[in-house]
């Protein structure tokens, strides 16, 4: 059986995590993991809700040692957890100090107790390559989250290939700082797996505001690698934060505008690299945004046109995975991305089908007709969806309140506009031009101001 150690080439006293409480060494980490593994309840699945990245990693690693699968809900909104726990009824929640009380009504909750582990082995445990260790969720066509199962082999292989592409050396003195949640697929790969596979250190927090990002990057005692998204990066550029020492920026979850990348490279005096990936396959390819449109697949990964779709092949993927975007692939294997397939949209790093959201909208009491649309222009940092609704006698607040219990908050429409009727044609369809016209009319009343 092929096995891969839990952590890469650390020496005992190498820094593995760095945060407000100072640094934690690889040896400390292994003691924490072995000790927690003994405390875990005997259950097959765990919702790892820890907000602190180091606490998350300790929980993830201990669960793996016990053969448990870590569930990565992309939201901790109680009603979403409630929906998911139906599919994983024997789960427990692993939390740190920032977790809220609502979770404890749904399942047993475990918080790590600090305890000495004098008899613990000093070597990292070995994890089978094909052990299923995590499940990331994407929204499915019928509104139920679709599980994407991740093996230890897949996670470690992607981290190996990503580090190699970025030119990271083993045990290089780098601290990875991330603005993305570690419960997101890209966050897990780039801010948790990347450091532990290459023997680097992770920052334990998650800076949100540009001033926070600036402060953390100023404070890190080593070279930094910032794992972020176009939204956070653009906010940093708008605020004009500067950092005294060079690092490396890695962005993913949505395409990065080239002028934002150029400005970020200037302000941070650092290269901006971008990852193309999606939950089903993980990270797939990389590019330096300012250098061009073409994506270079990670080593060992192939992207191929197969009939009308493109698929990703890799040794750690049990079968070819269809790409949710339209691509054109060059003979050398590099590719260009031409946007999402019809009906699928991307909001704040999450993918969803407009048709699915519309069907949820139509389930709301008092709603007679309605449609979710993606506005074609962007105001602010992130494009939010819009919805037009026919619901006589209902206010948009009332509809939103009900909708909030059915869909993820990131997909809530901004705004939800009540209209007397939708411009359906004689076959009952809503042509895109009619929707555009409706948006145009609405905007004339309420203009989209920057």
């Amino acid at each position: 059986m092929r096995e891969v150690p839990l952590i890469g080439p650390y020496q005992r006293d190498d820094l593995l995590a760095w945060g407000q409480e100072g640094g934690r060494t690889a040896a400390q980490f292994l003691r924490d993991v072995y000790s927690l593994a003994d405390q875990l309840p005997d259950r097959p699945t765990v919702f790892n809700l820890a907000a602190n990245r180091y606490e998350f990693l300790v929980g993830f690693a201990a669960a793996m040692m016990r053969g448990q699968v870590t569930l990565l809900p992309h939201s901790r909104v109680p009603h979403l957890l409630r929906e998911m726990i139906r599919d994983y009824p024997d789960s427990y929640a692993y939390v740190d100090h920032e977790a809220t009380g609502a979770v404890s009504e749904l399942m047993p909750v475990l918080r790590r107790q600090h305890s000495a582990c004098d008899l613990c082995p000093s070597d990292p445990p070995l994890i089978p390559w094909d052990q299923e260790v995590a499940i990331a969720f994407t929204s499915g066509t019928m509104g139920k989250p679709v599980p994407n199962r991740k093996t230890w082999g897949a996670l470690t292989s992607v981290a190996q290939a990503t580090g190699a592409r970025l030119g990271i050396k083993e045990r290089e003195r780098i601290i990875i700082v991330a603005t993305v949640p570690h419960q997101h697929m890209f966050g897990l790969e780039a801010s948790v797996m990347l450091p532990i596979v290459h023997g680097l250190a992770m920052h334990e927090g998650r800076p949100l505001f540009p001033a926070d990002v600036g402060n953390v990057l100023m404070a890190v005692p080593e070279r930094w690698l910032l794992v972020t998204t176009p939204i956070h990066l653009r906010a940093c550029v708008v605020e004009g934060i500067t950092v005294p020492k060079r690092g490396l920026i890695l962005s993913a979850t949505a395409p990065l505008a080239r002028d934002v990348a150029r400005e970020a490279e200037r302000q941070f005096q650092s290269e901006v690299r971008e990852i193309f990936g999606f939950a089903e396959a993980g990270s797939v390819a990389e590019r330096r945004t300012v250098a061009g449109d073409w994506w270079r697949p990670l080593d060992g990964v192939r992207v191929e046109q197969e009939g009308t779709v493109c698929v990703v092949r890799a040794p750690y993927l049990p079968e070819p995975v269809p790409v949710p975007d339209r691509l054109s692939v060059a003979p050398n294997g590099e590719f260009m991305v031409h946007g999402r397939k019809a009906d699928e949209v991307h909001i704040a790093g999450y993918r969803v089908s407009l048709g699915e959201l519309t069907s949820k909208l139509l389930q709301v009491e008092g709603v007679q007709d309605g449609v979710f649309v993606m506005p074609d222009e962007q105001c602010g940092l992130v494009t939010r969806l819009m919805a037009f609704v026919v619901a006589p006698g209902k206010s948009s607040e009332e509809i939103l309140r009900q909708l909030r219990t059915h869909i993820d908050p990131v997909f809530l429409p901004r705004p939800l506009v009540c209209v007397p009727k939708l411009p359906r044609n004689e076959t009952g369809k809503l042509p895109r031009e009619a929707i555009d016209e409706m948006m145009r009319q609405w905007r004339e009343e309420k203009s989209c101001e920057q």
Partner: protein, 90 residues
């Protein structure tokens, strides 16, 4: 709910919030003492980021999570208005 009335800064910020975050509510309907995030207006962390940029641009106050009372600052319109009045540079 107690009718407390808006201060000038609360009214300005209520309008900024509704405009910046493209909400479909009347700014005057925001309860100045109710939570802005989570259960209140249902705002998320990207909204916090977006709002912080708008506040920085208009008032010259850069919000940081490391501000000692960051949770309090974003806890309500009233608290936010108080923070902006205290820290504004323009």
């Amino acid at each position: 709910m107690e009718q407390t009335g808006f201060s000038a800064m609360e009214r300005e910020l209520a309008e900024l919030i509704v405009k910046t975050l493209k909400l479909t509510i009347d700014p005057a309907s925001i309860d100045p003492q109710a939570p802005l995030f989570g259960e209140g207006l249902g705002l998320d962390s990207i909204d916090a980021l977006e709002l912080s940029l708008a506040i920085s641009q208009r008032y010259g106050y850069q919000v940081k999570s490391s501000d000692p009372d960051i949770k309090a600052i974003f806890s309500s319109l009233r608290a936010l208005a108080h923070a902006v009045e205290t820290y504004r540079t323009k």
